[in-house]
Structure formats: C-alpha cells, structure tokens
Symmetry: C2
Subunit: 415 residues, 2 copies
C-alpha cells in the first residue's frame, strides 16, 4: 500500500509554519507498513488542490490531506473536495450535535459558522473529531482512498489515532512490519556504529537497522518484515534486541516510546523517593519536563528557579562569599544549590544546574555553553561540568537532558 | 516569478526528519517577492527526482531542490541531475581547492570521497559552499532556472544568502509581495471572522487575508501584491492594518514575528520592573518561556515551582489554614502564592498559577482543567479562574499562555 500526503495551506508556502503534520503522518504510516511516496504542500487554491489530488492518485493508493477545513473564507478544502468528488452538502445531525456539545463545554454558544462546520459532503464517511469542530472525511473513488483532515496538529492526531488507525487495520492488508526501538545515551552515532558493527552485519535479511540521533539521545530502530508469521518475527526481533543488549546494555535507558522523565518518575515512585530542583540557566525547563508526566506530584515536591544570585542566596542558602569567589557558574555554587534545594524542599534527591546559556555572559575562562550540574542525595553530592556550545536554545535543552541522565544514574547508583 | 521547492531524501518520507529547509526557503523567497507554488518532498530515487523536476517546471519558473548531494551511495541527486541536464562530469579545480582548504582547517586530509565532491556537471554555474564540501549548482534549460543545494540546513542557508540572494536580485525582476501579520488574543477564529467581516469584504483585490490560529493566539495575515510600486503597496497595507486596529485594537498584542515573552520582557525592562513566578500546575513552563528570551536576567528574578502544598507554605508563605479551607486550586491560595512570590523574591510583579492539570485530581466542583491565575503588583492582586479542558499537556500550555497575557495586561494597566 502506497500513500501520499498533501498538506494544504498558504502559511506553508510562505514559510510561516513548519509542516510537522506530514512528519507525524509519515512516521505513523510507516509504522503501519504503509510507504509514503511523496509529500506535497500546496496553497489554498481550488485548482491546485484538485490537481494535487489527481497527481497523488497517480502515484498512491491512499491520499491523505490536511488543512483548509476551518470555518473561515480562506479554508476551501471542504468545498473543493465536494466538487472534486461530486458531493451534495448536507447538515449532518451527529456532527452538529458533537460540535454543540464541545462548544457547550467551553461555554460558547453556537453561531452560523459553527453550524457550517456540520455541513458536510453526503458521499464521504465522517471521521469524528474529538478535539475540535472540523470533521475528518474519507472519500472513495475509482478504487482509491482519500482522507481529508483538519490542519490543527492535535485535532489531526486525534482523528488519526481514534478513527483512522483502527479502520486501516480492518480495511487494508498491511504487511506485518514490526519495530523495536532501543533508546541509548552517551555514545555518539559514529562510535555506536563501530561498537555494533559485527552485530549489524549479521542481522537477518528481513531486519533493517536505522540510527535516529537527537540531542543527547541516540535511538536504534530495528524494523522487521514478516517472512512467515508475525509471532516468529517478534521472536526473531526480540532475540536480536537481546544480543544488542549484551553489547551496549549499559548505554540503553529504555525501549520504544519510553520517555526519560517517565522512567525517572517510575524509579522515584517505586522506591518511594522524592525529588526537588534548583535551576538557574535551564530556567524551569527541567521542572516543566518532570511535571509533564501525569502523577508527578507523587514524587516531585517542587523547585526553585534561582535566576538571580540574590535568590540563590535567599532561597537556596548559597553562600554570598562562594558566589563572589567562584562565580554563579561553578562547582562550589551548583553543589550548594543542590544541597540547598534538597534540605530546604525536604526531598531525597535534588538536581541543580548553573550555566551560561548565552548569547552573552561568556568569558575566556567560562565561554558560553559552560554548565555545571550537581545531584544531591542523602549519601553525597556529585557534580560535573559540560560545554554545550554557542546556541542559547540548544544549551538549555542539552543541559536539561544531561541533568536528567545524571539524576537517573545517581538514583540507580544510590539504590 | 514563481518557484517550486523540492526536498529530496528518504528520511523525509519516513518521518525521521522535519523538513525545515523548505520552511526556510519559502520564507526567504517570499521576502524577495518570489511566490512558492508548491513544496514537494520525494525519496532518493532517480525516476522520482526526474519526474519531480519535470512537474515543477510545469508550475514554476524557478525550481530549487535540496538534498542528496553527500558523498555516500544513497546520495544520487548530482548524478541524476547530470543525466537530466545532459552534463559531462568534470573535476572542477576551484571546487577541489576550496574543499581542500576547508578540510585542512578541520585538520582532515583529503580522501577519495572528498575528491568526488569536486566532480561536478560541466554545464552548471557553481554556487560556492562556504560551510561544507557539497557545492550548489545552477542549471538553465528552456528558459527555466534550476538550483540544487545540499540538504544540511546550515550549508543550504550559507549558499542561499551568500550566492543565491545576490544573483536573484541581479537577474530576476522581482514583484513586490508584502505581508503584515497582526497578532491577536482573546477572540476565537469564528468570532473574529464575524467581527471583521465588513472590513475583510471591503479589502482591495490585491490584498488577501488569512487566519492562522494556534493555542491562545490568532494571527491575521494580510498579503499584498503590488499593482504599481512597492511603496504604495506598503502604504495601502498599513492603511488597512490601521483600519483593522480601530475595530479589534484591544485584542492586538503584536505584529509580525513579535513574541509574547519578548513583548513582556521589553515592557518590564523599559520600565525598570522585575518579575517573579509561583507555579503549581504549570510546573515551571512559564519560567521556561520567560527565560527562553536572551537577557531575561535583566528583569526576571526567579520563581518557585510549588508542586506540593508543603512548599506552597514553606516557600510562598501560603497559610496552611487557607489550604485546608479552600484547597490548593482556589482564589485564596493563588493570591497568597502571588503575594508570597512578590514579597519573598522581591519583585515588582509576580504571577501565580494553581490548577488541576489532570488526568486525575478533578472533582464535580473543580473538574480537570480548573485553573486559578493571579497577578500581584505593588498596587493590588488580581485573579481569575479558567477551565482549559481535559488534556493535561494542553491545560499546562494554555494556563501558561493565559498567565502571560494576564501579566501583560496588568503591567500595562499599572503603568
């Protein structure tokens, strides 16, 4: 099965919006064993939409379009597709009702435009949007399938997982493709390639390996195609993942969709341990990551964002003398910050970060990117220095990830 | 002048990489008055590349492709284009020399692969790559222009600004396309459409309006095409933006690339005011947004993430009695949090947020999504309650944005 993705919207063609919808869809379709042959971004223009649908149907069996389903005059996808598929427009009571319920929950009364959102082509299957008022539409024509989705990412994602994925599994004969993703930390891509070279070379022909690097994390994805049945494919893949574990086990921190912050949360919760934070250059990002996990209040007490030296002293008990003698970005200060958070916020573990995020503030001795991270526990305080480079945004991001990995290791070492 | 962007690479079609190259090129081309008619992402397959070039030339005068110019075996763009344009491959001495110099600076000696990077089609104009070894190539055929660029973003960007932009200005007669984006808050898309309906209907034919909604923010983009000269287009567009301001002025918080956190930072800095935060459900996200702005330390003192009631009391001086009587998510508590942060962290303004992010913790009286936000200043403490719905991630996001908008308003009201 081959698919083409069409993203519709003037904002894509003037560069105002990065097209993450097609990245999401391409990822999800590939996971299901549906190959994406092309991604096409076009403006909100009737002729372009029709031509793109024609062209896509020449390359693919399944055409998935996003965007242009809003209630305003520049959103013309719905009317264009109605014309393209020869539909009559009808008010669909179930759509109207679900829009009414959604608006009611938000305390908004229905207006003319909302009602128009329930006016839909009569020859498509509706894909219910649980996150918004623009319904998804599934058309069929000459043996090909066409799906139109709203462009708002979380609405598109909701329809994909709730309405499309289950139908795909029912209606399409999908090849048995399986993935195991191994999450590693601490080994760069080229070094990893050397370490696992022999294992990779000996992989069975129906298994393929991909390296997926992102800041601080390298994911290794094994993709397998079933030659006989899917159960034996699972067994084969798990066997290879086990072999890989014997080679690089100490660098593996999780599998598949595991998230570092969830792994840390589970470690803390299952051992009845608590956490606090003292952030300077990361400015609350670590706290924000920790609290993105539902139920984080079971182990996370809270944190101090000590952006000024004043607050490092008043809230974290950092000695003004230490600050003057060593500067805020120093081992002595970051260790006092960690200790101050752990004692003051009464937690088992604490993490402290102090660095020069940039673009200014660097010196010859401590250039932009210099970052100190400390972890305090009942047992001890450990600390380490890093240099993450010159970009402010990436410095903050990398410091947060490094701090979380140090925390994970220290919790395990202290257990 | 019409352009089409083609991004080449398997990684795009399996969702491994977000296509930011086309976003950059689309932005830059539009600024130059070159309209982008389509963006097409295709795999590293000879036939697909040739077909995409054919199709693009049918829609556009200028075709810009990125990707597939690396030295490894899956990079086939160069050889495919040589075939497409009937080129002979020759070692170009100037390219060889510049690759040698670049490698030398990195302390690397030249190998076979590097030399192959200097082997280029003999019928293209070379666009020098100051940031890497893959040269840009400019072909001409049947009156159309075709440019091939490396896919590594910073190399592509270097060639664009150093080699392409100056040539474009020399060689093309560029029409004046201009954009004004108006940033609004507080009015949903459909309501906004009603409010500005008459204005929108009366827009001159060469101006077009687009609605670009994102959580908490609705951007209105006016795009104008010059009919006579670009100065009168500017004047026309500014005039329409002014008219719009008289209708929805109080909902406008910025223009074009303005960011809320930068606007707030400038407000604080220019009035010599300082800020502190007391976050519960937002868990540090507001702090993280505030500190994403370079130079935030000039006005941001820091914050307390008071995730537990214990910390609300110990760090923010919230009365344990108030907590018991009202619960943590209450007007009384959030106002005490704001006051505690402002007093304890010694700032002019403070923001406090307490809410039920979910998925659990909701009650009939206070369902998931219930959020209290307070702003404290020297003058007073104001507070407001919201319900942001059921999704944890969006609750946190929306609470942060709502808090920032309340802060902005209160700073302006207090000036």
């Amino acid at each position: 099965l081959k698919a083409e993705i069409i993203t519709i919207g003037d904002e894509l063609l003037i560069g105002q919006v990065v097209d993450t919808n097609s990245t999401f869809l391409a990822t999800e379709l590939n996971k299901l064993g549906i190959a994406v042959v092309q991604i096409t971004s076009i403006p909100d223009i009737r002729e372009n939409i029709m031509k793109a649908f024609d062209d896509a149907a020449g390359r693919a069996d399944l055409v998935i379009a996003t965007g242009g389903l809003g209630p305003t005059s520049d959103d013309i996808t719905k009317s264009t597709l109605a014309e393209y598929f020869g539909s009559n427009m009808v008010i669909v009571p179930s759509a109207l009702e679900s829009i009414r319920i959604m608006l009611e929950a938000r305390g908004v009364t229905m207006n003319e435009r909302n009602i128009r959102q329930a006016e839909l082509p009569d020859n498509c299957e509706l894909l219910h949007n649980s996150a918004g008022s623009a319904q998804g539409m599934w058309f069929k024509k000459d043996g090909k399938d066409y799906i139109s989705l709203p462009g708002v990412p979380f609405e598109m994602k909701a329809i994909f997982s709730e309405e499309m994925k289950p139908r795909f599994k029912q209606r399409f004969i999908l090849p048995a493709i399986q993935h195991i993703t191994i999450l590693t930390h601490g080994v760069p891509e080229s070094e990893m390639a050397n370490m696992i070279h022999d294992w990779e070379e000996s992989l069975p022909g129906n298994l393929k390996l991909a390296y997926l690097p992102s800041p601080g994390i390298l994911r290794l994805r094994i993709t397998g195609k079933a030659t006989t049945d899917s159960a034996s494919l699972s067994a084969l893949m798990e066997n290879e993942a086990e072999k890989l574990k014997t080679i690089i086990g100490k660098h593996i921190f999780g599998y598949n969709d595991d998230k570092l912050e969830v792994i840390i949360g589970n470690l803390l919760k299952s051992n009845n341990l608590s956490l606090s934070l003292a952030e300077s250059c990361t400015g609350g990002l670590i706290s924000s990551i920790i609290t993105s996990v539902p139920g984080a209040s079971a182990y996370y007490k809270g944190g101090i964002v000590a952006y000024s030296n004043e607050i490092k002293t008043s809230e974290l008990n950092v000695s003004p003398y230490t600050l003057i003698m060593n500067g805020a970005v120093s081992q002595a200060v970051v260790e006092q910050m960690a200790d101050g958070a752990r004692t003051g916020l009464k937690s088992d573990f604490s993490v402290a970060v102090s660095g020069i995020a940039g673009p200014t503030g660097g010196t010859d001795e401590k250039p932009v990117g210099t970052t100190w991270i400390a972890i305090a526990s009942k047992k001890r305080i450990i600390s380490r220095t890093f240099n993450f480079g010159e970009d402010r945004g990436r410095n903050i991001q990398k410091a947060a990830i490094a701090a979380l990995f140090m925390l994970r290791k220290e919790i395990m070492d202290c257990l």
